[in-house]
Symmetry: none
Subunit: 410 residues, 2 copies
Amino acid sequence: MSDLLDTVRGLAKKTDSKILMVVLDGVGGLPLTVNGDTELATARTPNLDALAQESQLGQLELVGAGITPGSGPGHLSLFGYDPLKYVVGRGALSAVGIGVKLNRGDVAVRGNFATLGAGRLILDRRAGRPSDEKNAEIVAKLRAAIPEIDGVAVEVYTESEHRFVVVFRAPEGQPLGANISDVDPQVTGVEPKTAIANDPSSEVTAGLINTFVARAEVALADEPQVNGVLFRGYSDVPHFPSFEDAYQLKAACIASYPMYKGLASLVGMDVLPVEGHEDALEGKVKALRENWAKYDFFYFHIKKTDSTGEDGDFAEKVHKIELFDELLPQLLELQPDVIAVVGDHSTPSKLKSHSWHPVPLLIRSNYGRRDPAQRYTEEEAARGTLGLRHGPDLMPLLMANALKLNKYGA
Amino acid sequence: MSDLLDTVRGLAKKTDSKILMVVLDGVGGLPLTVNGDTELATARTPNLDALAQESQLGQLELVGAGITPGSGPGHLSLFGYDPLKYVVGRGALSAVGIGVKLNRGDVAVRGNFATLGAGRLILDRRAGRPSDEKNAEIVAKLRAAIPEIDGVAVEVYTESEHRFVVVFRAPEGQPLGANISDVDPQVTGVEPKTAIANDPSSEVTAGLINTFVARAEVALADEPQVNGVLFRGYSDVPHFPSFEDAYQLKAACIASYPMYKGLASLVGMDVLPVEGHEDALEGKVKALRENWAKYDFFYFHIKKTDSTGEDGDFAEKVHKIELFDELLPQLLELQPDVIAVVGDHSTPSKLKSHSWHPVPLLIRSNYGRRDPAQRYTEEEAARGTLGLRHGPDLMPLLMANALKLNKYGA
């Protein structure tokens, strides 16, 4: 089925205009009391307010009505890839997120370290949440013990705590399938499951998985706590048009956290180095300024608006929004032809998690219509003139506002 | 793929109610300054205002978010045919636009007259833009010189200036394909290209095209300026349900310009004669009045709201909107059961071109809900109770408001 992305792909053209997409992760929120203010409405945001008064507002539903997006689908949607059609496995995300390049045919798998007791029964599915240092030590053991299986190169990477990633490198001309049942039974008190291929092309990979599990248990037999592995989430490399192919955009990612850099890299953006720790706000602005001339499109990611929501810390989420507001003038100084402010999903502190609520969207360009918005809030966004839209509508709107799309038909 | 049109087609019924769809071509606009008024908002439109106060408003996106519709896709969308699914080639549009009936299997081709120099190198891709009289004289020469090729009847028609249309009539049982590369290289200083078939069913047609080009150059050898032909845009006849088949509507088109008459004719509307020149406002009202009893549905097209936008003439676009407003009472006097006012795309004078911005939609019927609208403007439409919709939603809404659709399911 043809979709909007295919249409846009046929119409995109290169121009000098620049698009800045600011993603405030998890920015949408909820009031704590009936008719109360959300985090966004509570925050003092003079710069966002002024921007809103020159912009059109609307709302985006990233996946569909009532669907709470994970970070992967949320971002794919923002980038114009309908997340119900374009699926990226968590294994592939994790791999690229830690800087591992995947090639067509390879399979990436997310693993958890676990504690196994007598008879291989699972005592703890997270092995007591080992420290990152312990994780690295275990990974080193596995690397030494399992460099390859049946001629297939095996790479093991540390992620954090109990999490790790395994990449199976496909031999030349023999792509590995990734349609395999989970090893992780998701409950304790039972044995790890045997991986089973759900299609013929995944049979070799299922064998690799089961061999890896067995050899890991041997290699970790003298560990008191981290003595087993569970797998869940196998993925091959997604086959979809790159950002450059889809939009004729030379695009850069400015983000601090592996997941977001991985997503951007998967769609073909250059991931720019960012100085500083955690959200590294000033480092991000510096990266943006220094690379402004080199790219047509910038994805600029702010993480802490989400983390504070996940923590259920309403006041701290308000504060993180205000910190972004203080930063905003430095972004506007660069005079992007089109700027969007949006989230990849909502993360209300009231829910301490991602949520299904639409995210508020703001777009400013030279070709916008008048909008009554006085502030960038969920409430004003809900009466915004851009309307309530599906996430993959965003990129075509930004491309259009940047005058980067030809007319469709005569 | 099943779409809304298929569903509506199964539910449509004949009744006595009448629908009037007024298309103000390119009616949506933009303010010239941030937060300024658009052309529609600037215009003094007492009659449209009064109508808006009894109507529901909304916005239509004819193709999709960010996509700027050509006139063809924009109108198909208004008529209920999803323009990403139902595609009509420019050649077919041109042919039916000048009153040429196409049959299944025929191929229509858009041609340009060109000036060729030594070695067939193209000097001018538009042959110095000949007068319409000169165009007709050249067409007469070609008709005499090339009545048929290899037993296939060839018809040549004048369009205007350097533009003409050729129709190749498929012999009984031998449909002609239209998947062929362009003869027009779109640059000067090179020879016209040889047409190449992109699929086996188009090989015969490609041969006809190349023979036509060669014989035309012989026939025009003594012409100093108009001595070559270039082809671009081949099309066969679109295969989709007619307006009558889809909606059980006996439908009439009231328009002045070939393209719009052609589109209406393609979907099976009767094209009514209109007295007068250019937009012929009074002639259109006369045609509407005189044929009111004979049809269930009228497509009533106003062109100048678009042309003035294309010219970048804000004040003149405002004026054309006001001229339509003066006409409106004569339309309302006929007491249509359902009247819609809408555009086929936006044409902001600021952009001097079609644009992607949604078009404002107004629907009045006896079965509307209350809407806050005081005027028919982009801003009021954006908060209209009909919401932001995909273009092909319009026809089902009009059919429903005319009580012409049965219930879906028991």
